[in-house]
């Protein structure tokens, strides 16, 4: 009897031991996935999809400074705030207990972020660590007018319901000035109505969906990244330069909002040009491979293939092209820019993916050519000093720096506005950004212009993947001129019109 009494607890202990063992190995596994964590099959997420290797970055302030923008509180109507491009905030429309200085004291600014730190997309969680590290850097140099920026991050596992719980709790804690870089399109959609009703700035969303330019209906929400719609317009612009006599284009498109944003952007950009879209093959999230799609588009013998997809489908698409007899110019989604994650698996098949073109917006910290940039030097020396556990070669930390740089820019400007640092001025500043980030590829601007331009980054450099040794990962080299459509997209209303027409 005694033996059976103890057998169950003993079995339990052994089982726990097994879990612990599994945990040990899985943590190793996850660190290898996070290394190149720029995107995943979640398709519409893709926050860190912005790394680059192209030509050098540009000289910009490592810590942005206020530029005396003439915005802020109205001199006569104290509840009215005015910004660039006719953007205004009337705080009488906010809840009666809305506090303009919530989360802002003389010593500290409290910000909130919700993103996956556990689960399949845990790699994106590093953005929060990277952002906090940049804020610590800013704090060590005096902060925002003597105020330290403190970031509270919560895990949502990429589940919109959990994001909502996190955001609700953050709202009800009444101690945060704004949210930043909430990750994932459905996750942001789950909370944006509420945040707009509550007049809580929802800034620099960690997704490239075009919705974040909906300044008319969601004035308190902004994005940061190059949106997929504009990215496809950049493809068309580049192709026009490469094929002045016209070209036939075929596309493999992810059958969701993400893929369709590319489709709509490309179609709207080739109207009236001699580029023709001859075949579009859609694939679902669950399709095992792209063989059928590839066979159909290859039969058209088009000059160009667009891989408007993400995750492992990028790798499959490149592999199909390289193995086949059809040799189109391949343009691939920028969400598949991570070499280790998407090009690495090709090596095992004896393939390389060479010749693939993608759009890049921000500099790559791992490219030796960028090592002398002040921002890269600051990043490489500060990150391990701030927290020895953070490895600067993991580009997702740098993605966190990119988001945090813009947040700091917003806070610096808001602090200089009439009325001082408060949440209305933070929102005004977020819609009036007109300063070039040192992380951007040289020649690009990042600009918001209130009701006229609701997208921050609208340009990029087309780069081609080149391989010297087929057994090693290659590198991206710039192809053609810088592509810049800054200020041309306008607001989400334009995208909606194009989506309805396509």
């Amino acid at each position: 009897m005694r033996a059976t009494r103890w057998s169950k607890p003993a079995a339990f202990v052994m089982a726990v031991g097994l879990v612990a063992a599994a945990c040990g190995s899985s943590s190793k596994g996850s660190s290898s996935t996070t290394a190149g964590a720029t995107t995943t099959a979640g398709a519409t997420t893709t926050a860190g999809a912005t790394t680059t290797v192209a030509s050098g970055g540009q000289v910009g302030d490592v810590i942005p400074k206020a530029t005396n923008q003439p915005y802020g509180q109205d001199a006569t109507t104290k509840t009215l705030y005015k910004g660039a491009g006719g953007f205004q905030i009337d705080t009488t429309k906010c809840p009666s207990d809305w506090n303009p200085t919530q989360g802002i004291t003389d010593k500290q600014i409290d910000l909130f972020i919700s993103l996956p730190k556990a689960g399949p997309l845990a790699g994106f969680g590093l953005i929060a660590d990277g952002a906090q590290s940049y804020f610590n850097y800013v704090n060590s140099k005096g902060g925002i007018g003597g105020r330290n920026i403190v970031l509270t991050s919560k895990d949502d596992g990429y589940k919109p319901d959990v994001t909502k719980t996190n955001i609700d709790e953050a709202l009800q804690a009444k101690k945060y000035a704004n949210t930043l870089t909430v990750l994932g399109t459905p996750n942001n959609l789950a909370v944006w109505d509420e945040l707009n009703t509550e007049c809580m700035p929802q800034l620099l969303n960690g997704t490239g969906a075009a919705q974040w330019g909906d300044v008319e209906n969601h004035p308190w929400t902004t994005g940061m990244q190059l949106d997929y719609f504009t990215e496809a317009k950049l493809w068309a612009t580049w192709l026009k330069g490469k094929y002045p006599n016209g070209a036939k284009v075929a596309a493999i498109v992810y059958n969701n909002d993400f893929g369709k944003s590319y489709e709509a952007g490309f179609k709207s950009a080739i109207k009236g040009t001699n580029l023709t879209l001859v075949s579009e093959q859609f694939h679902d999230a669950t399709t095992p491979n792209l063989d059928n799609q590839y066979t159909t588009v290859a039969a058209t013998n088009a000059d160009v293939l667009l891989l408007s997809t993400t995750g492992s489908f990028c790798t499959q698409g490149m592999a199909a092209v390289e193995k086949g007899s059809w040799h189109p110019t391949v343009i691939m989604s920028g969400t598949c820019g991570s070499l280790a994650q998407f090009f690495g698996p090709l090596l095992k098949q004896g393939l390389t993916g060479k010749g693939t073109n993608i759009i890049q917006t921000f500099v790559d910290v791992n490219d030796p050519a960028n090592a002398n940039l002040p921002i890269v030097q600051a990043y490489s020396s500060w990150l391990p000093k701030d927290s020895p556990a953070l490895d600067p070669t993991k580009t997702t930390y740098f993605t966190g720096w990119i988001f945090a740089w813009y947040m700091t820019e917003i806070l610096q400007q808001a602090n200089s506005y009439a009325g001082g640092l408060n949440r209305a001025n933070i929102m005004i500043a977020a819609r009036s950004i007109d300063q070039t980030s040192p992380m951007l590829i040289k020649g690009l601007q990042s600009k918001m212009n209130g009701l006229k331009d609701a997208y921050l980054t609208e340009g990029g450099q087309m780069v081609t993947y080149q391989v010297a040794d087929p057994a090693q990962l290659g590198k991206f080299v710039p192809a053609g001129d810088l592509l810049n459509l800054e200020g041309q997209l306008g607001t989400y209303a334009a995208v909606k019109k194009a989506l309805a027409g396509s």
């Binding site: 169950k8 607890p9 079995a11 339990f12 089982a15 726990v16 879990v19 612990a20 945990c23 899985s26 943590s27 996850s30 660190s31 996070t34 398709a43 519409t44 730190k117 556990a118 689960g119 845990a122 790699g123 969680g125 590093l126 660590d129 919560k154 895990d155 596992g157 990429y158 589940k159 919109p160 319901d161 959990v162 909502k164 719980t165 609700d168 709790e169 009800q172 804690a173 399109t185 459905p186 959609l189 789950a190 109505d193 969906a209 059958n255 969701n256 909002d257 993400f258 679902d284 999230a285 669950t286 927290s387 556990a389 953070l390 490895d391 993991k394």
Partner: protein, 383 residues
């Protein structure tokens, strides 16, 4: 040894049961005041909605002895029905409930048809296919479901003016939604309880425990099997609608294979073939990941380490193993055993023809604690 022995159907026993139910009802009604923030009330609403889903799954797994890994799809059908009708056709939330019920019932009957021919693992695989297919279908019909970005309804359920809830406060609408969800859940629980105590329920349990003898006794096995699948799916659909009352946003990922598995897990945690097991199961489903993440945020040695939050999944796994090994009957079974040390209920001897009470079972209230397919112990014979 029990400190207190109660005889069934005596005033003392009645009072004991009344106090028990009264306490439970009071606790449920008091919960919104116990919460300090509306977000916490929302979590209670989630618990109640998921409890309905677990209860629905229990009908199939616990009471009819079939395995379903596809209930996430039925919850999803209910959720999408509600959110589409509210968002695109401006229905009231309440009017969508019967539609969710009916639609999920029909799909449940269709999915249940294979259950006539196959059992056990094979049925599990078939239903697993349903769970896998559902998110794909959501993406496929994106004109209806809005694809990967999820479908949301702008209009939330707000308290009408005749209720004591202030529609413009932060607590009012949230508490109102909690009580609405709770009221509907209570109705579902009572319906299921009555169903199980009726001829249908006895027929189900009989066919679960011994098909042959049930058939010999006149139970029409095919009809009952399909019917229970349909009913279970319908209640799961209602659970989906309740989730949308709490937060009107449906995404494909929310009703995928993960939910299907976790419903089964929550069922095991709560207790298979117990009605009340749905509540601890749902509590575990909502709160364990939530607190596990919070705890792990506070572990000093993990702080600042990349991927540290993934430990919450491990904590969840360990707890689950703990349940399977140490409390195989689930939380409810554990509580009942605990109670059996204090209170013992014995049958009233006056009912028996001999006038002599038989030896009391450890658990007189259970419909039938044994479920050979899923529980490892047969409590009836366990020393």
């Amino acid at each position: 040894m029990a400190k207190l022995t109660l005889t069934e159907r005596t005033p003392a026993h009645l009072a004991y049961r009344l106090v028990g139910w009264g306490l439970a009802a009071a606790a449920l009604l008091y919960l919104p005041w116990f919460a300090h923030t509306p977000a916490r009330i929302d979590q209670y609403s989630q618990v109640v909605a998921y409890a309905v889903a677990i209860l629905a799954l229990n009908l199939v797994i616990g009471y009819s002895g079939q395995i379903s890994l596809g209930h996430s799809a039925f919850v999803g059908i209910g959720a999408y029905t509600t959110v589409i009708l509210v968002a695109d056709h401006h229905w009231s939330y309440f009017a969508t409930l019967p539609v969710s019920f009916a639609l999920a019932f029909v799909v449940g009957v269709v999915v249940g048809l294979p259950a006539l021919r196959i059992r056990g693992l094979y049925l599990a695989v078939v239903t697993l296919a349903v769970a896998t297919a559902f998110p794909t279908l959501v993406l496929k019909f994106d004109s209806l479901t809005n694809g990967a970005n999820g479908k949301q309804a702008k209009e939330k359920l707000v308290p009408p003016s005749w209720t004591p809830f202030d529609a413009h406060s932060r607590f009012g609408p949230v508490a109102y939604r909690y009580f609405v969800i709770l009221a509907i859940a209570v109705v579902v629980f009572v319906l299921v309880r009555n169903l199980l105590r009726s001829r249908v329920g006895r027929a189900l349990i009989a066919s679960r425990d011994n098909q042959t003898s049930a058939a010999v006794a006149g139970v029409n096995l095919p009809v009952y099997r399909v019917l229970v699948f349909g009913m279970s799916a319908a209640f799961a659909g209602v659970a989906g609608s309740l989730l949308m009352i709490y937060n009107p946003q449906a995404t494909d990922g929310k009703f995928g294979i993960e939910l299907a598995i976790f419903l089964v897990v929550a069922l095991v945690i709560g207790g298979v073939a117990t009605l009340s097991g749905a509540v601890p199961g749902a509590l575990a489903y909502v709160f364990i990941p939530y607190y596990a993440t919070q705890w792990t945020d506070n572990f000093g040695f993990l702080k600042g380490r990349p991927g540290a939050a993934s430990i919450s999944g491990v904590v969840y796994g360990v707890l689950l193993l703990g349940f399977v090994f140490l409390l195989p009957g689930g939380v409810i079974d554990g509580l009942r055993r605990l109670r059996a040390r204090i209170v013992r209920v014995v049958p009233n001897p006056s009912w028996l023809p001999t006038g002599r009470a038989p030896a009391p079972r450890p658990d007189a209230e259970d419909l039938d604690p044994t479920f050979p397919q899923l529980t490892t112990t047969n409590r009836g014979n366990n020393p």
